[in-house]
Symmetry: C3
Subunit: 366 residues, 3 copies
């Protein structure tokens, strides 16, 4: 007889550059996951709302929006890559492939590109990986690299301190053909009238008006993604070690504000996008917690043609998320030992994403 304390996930010393981790389970995107996760973000693109519209555009069904595709594939990699992580440092070169529709099944795998021990902290290091998700036909739906800070389990274990190049992953965006017989004009009232390709001017910054508080619902949402990281749901664990776990609070999974920022921005900049093409880089610049309200702004960086598709254009933007935090400031002694305080609000950037969208041209769709 033995008491076996089951461990899950890899630690820094377990990663081997060049090795491939085939992630477990896979996930079918049911109408349940789709509805809960899409709608929570306040996303507005009719392709992800209205089956009649999505089918008229030539999609097989309701389109799973990029925030959910990213969250499902990313979460499948968590057990093997980041269940024992301290922080997700950066998303790199995230590219979308064939569209995902409700009912599709996604499975993922990750190639380890590099491991680097921390110079200052012997219990930490950085793992660099490349994760790719495919649908039930084996077609790539998403591929990306990420860098993540992972705990070491055995401080004396050796680290494979090397780097292998990323694998070449062919990605095809595979959008439905443009076909004027589809009756786009009859559907045009279902999306924003001012978010066509012609509307975007480099340099403009769109401050999105809506915000959304994150409640403890983040725990349920993260669970629905099969994300097994304990720092998002194991309240007792984080309370036992506040020094290690941001003061003993559950931290909100980064995929939640990632998804929320995409959703909050959608009425102003992706309501007429056929797809997200690529995120060159992205990072969570500050953590969020239950009770924080998430806001977003989009800076237009670039507009250019989409090769071979005169009906759409590429819009390059920077999407930033932010929250406000109260800052107590001493404003001087009020006498008798009582300090006068005034509360000020500080705007804190929580998310940064360089994003390229495939956006319909008004000339072809209205």
């Amino acid at each position: 007889m033995a008491i076996i304390r089951k461990k899950t996930g890899n630690f820094l010393e377990d990663f081997r550059p060049g090795g491939v981790l085939r992630h477990k389970r896979g996930k079918t995107i049911t109408e349940g996951l789709f509805a809960v996760f899409s709608d929570f973000s306040m996303t507005t693109n009719p392709l992800s709302k209205n089956l009649r519209y999505a089918q008229a555009y030539g999609f097989r069904g309701l389109v799973v929006h990029p925030g959910l595709v990213m969250n499902v594939v990313f979460s499948q990699s968590v057990e093997d890559v980041s269940e024992n992580a301290r922080a997700n440092l950066e998303y790199v070169d995230m590219r979308f492939g064939v569209p995902v529709c409700v009912g599709d099944t996604l499975e993922s795998q990750t190639r380890v590109l590099g491991v680097r021990a921390s110079a200052s902290n012997p219990s930490l290091g950085v793992v660099h990986v490349q994760t790719t998700g495919r649908n039930q036909h084996g077609e790539v739906v998403l591929t990306f690299q990420r860098k993540v800070q992972v705990w070491k389990h055995d401080l004396d274990a050796p680290i494979s301190d090397e780097q292998v190049p990323p694998e070449e992953i062919p990605v095809s965006l595979a959008l439905p053909e443009y076909d004027p017989k589809r009756g786009y004009r009859d559907l045009a009232h279902l999306s924003s009238p001012d978010t066509y390709f012609e509307d975007f001017r480099p340099g403009d910054v769109l401050e999105h008006s809506r915000g959304r508080v994150v409640t403890t619902d983040h725990i349920m949402l993260t669970g629905m993604l099969d994300n097994t990281s304990q720092v998002h749901c194991n309240q007792w664990m984080v309370e036992q070690d506040p020094d290690r776990y941001v003061g003993g609070q559950l931290i909100v999974f980064g995929g939640i504000p990632f998804n929320l920022c995409l959703g909050i921005s959608s009425a102003d900049c992706s309501d007429n996008a056929l797809a997200d093409i690529r995120y060159a880089t992205g990072r969570h610049t500050a953590p969020i917690f239950a009770g924080d309200t998430v806001f977003a702004a989009t800076e237009i960086r670039e507009v250019r043609d989409f090769p071979g598709r005169p009906d759409i254009g590429v819009v390059g933007v920077v999407l930033r998320g932010h929250k406000f935090v109260r800052k107590c400031e001493e404003t001087g002694k009020a006498g008798a030992g009582k300090e006068e305080k005034s509360e000020a609000a500080e705007k804190v950037e929580i998310f940064y994403l360089e994003r390229e969208l495939a956006v319909k041209r008004r000339s072809h769709y209205t």
Copy 2:
């Protein structure tokens, strides 16, 4: 380059009587939205629970109950009509058309009937509209008028202070035919035995025994409806302006208690209804907040034949929702400056709805 603060929704001065607002997006009622929203209300009608039962009755699939039909169509009108509203004043002449089943896609539009500036407050006024929702075949599923108190943005802007008549919207309830071969008797144990047409006596008041607390889950539920009103989900915004936003609290979207009251009453009065026919008038008589427990009672007002359908009858009721609030009362000085307080509970009506139901007759179904 420009910083563009995006605005959403219309203000009082933007409404033009006679104008038509075609609402964006549309919404397919997925099994996800259906399950989360129906079940949360504690609705008990087997048509919305049991596919075998719904199909035996001649419906194409699980029937979307009236509370969800109303909430989806209503929420589609929020961005254009009430995103900048202070309060929803009244529902008028809400009539249900063809049944909605899971998988249907609803799209809506609103005709502006009237705009009236407030006599006492230059920053407010009332907008009167008529909203109609249709399914993917263009059939009317719901039409109603409502009056809503909307903020003015530019206090100096002129108001179109006029009124146009409501459009005549043909509405057909379109219930499946009665057919004794369907085997209704073999299904009769699946609904309450004491809620047939013959059981209702005008004058009776049914106090429904169940109650349900609303938690912060109202934020998720409102988001699932694509309701974009910020007063339900933007915690930071309401905290910054407690004078404008009921003390800095998120107010629960009226559709939530509307839906809950329908659900709480269903075991006692609509478990054997084939449909809700019409709500002549309805209003939210007090706001609710996270933490409130919602209760309901139904007053039977009228019973009458349903023309052309001897198997069913019309039951006219008033559905009222209520909550209890603690009231601190001073009961006298207890000496030494200490006040004695006793806590009493006050019953507060939160919802009023005049409702007509199409209810099965025991003679035909058991």
Copy 3:
């Protein structure tokens, strides 16, 4: 005119041994219920995650995991059996029949086996019942007995203090045939590599590493099951009578930790199970409340052949759930009337289940 205070559920004196209660409504397992309830538990078996995998194994669709089957059937019995219960005492001889897949409709009925008045408390007694759930084809999916402590309504009413034997319910597990042509080996990376039949040694105790906090989301989850018991959702009611209702707190429905413990254990012991066969006995050994974090451990008791199926074996285990509670201890006077306190954590068992699983053999599936 009459004010009618509607009552729901039976009291102790209403149960008649030998009587059969056909439960109302029935429930179709939509993709919405499936996704929300399955994923919340952190269950990891790919049969309940990945449609491609489930179909390759010969199931008609995504497999509804045993925790959800149990919760749906159990909850259908609540209104008639335990809406007026004080506590659920024991599950007995719970056996699973044909697999349940997404889209199936379950309906249930309960036979009353016995009623026994409490010797010490005239307002309480124990009801012993046998509940059976069937799918839309009339096939048994689950049958079990339970004992539940129920309130008496009329203290003077007589009790049918007798006992009838349980009905013989034929249950067939009905697993898909083993067929090497299905390509199991190509799917083997999707489940844990160390949870095949050959991996289990009687006497081992597996301490599962993951935990999950229960938030107020338990109210929504319980509602989604159509569980109508008021002690889980009627905040006002429990606050009015703290003596009767555990200090005025909503108690979490036992099906929630039941389901969570199954899910938390799955990566370590049921990831390669084709089905749960039988729970000989089970009970909730302590209540849980919003804010508690649930953990679990599995003790391997027995491994044996599965008659007629050389590809699988039976693993008998005990699944235990636990939580930690803070315990304030006085550690001595620190002088001047100030007591020094230290906080210690006490591990409290919340759930006990004797469980038999049908587990794949590595020899046949990898």
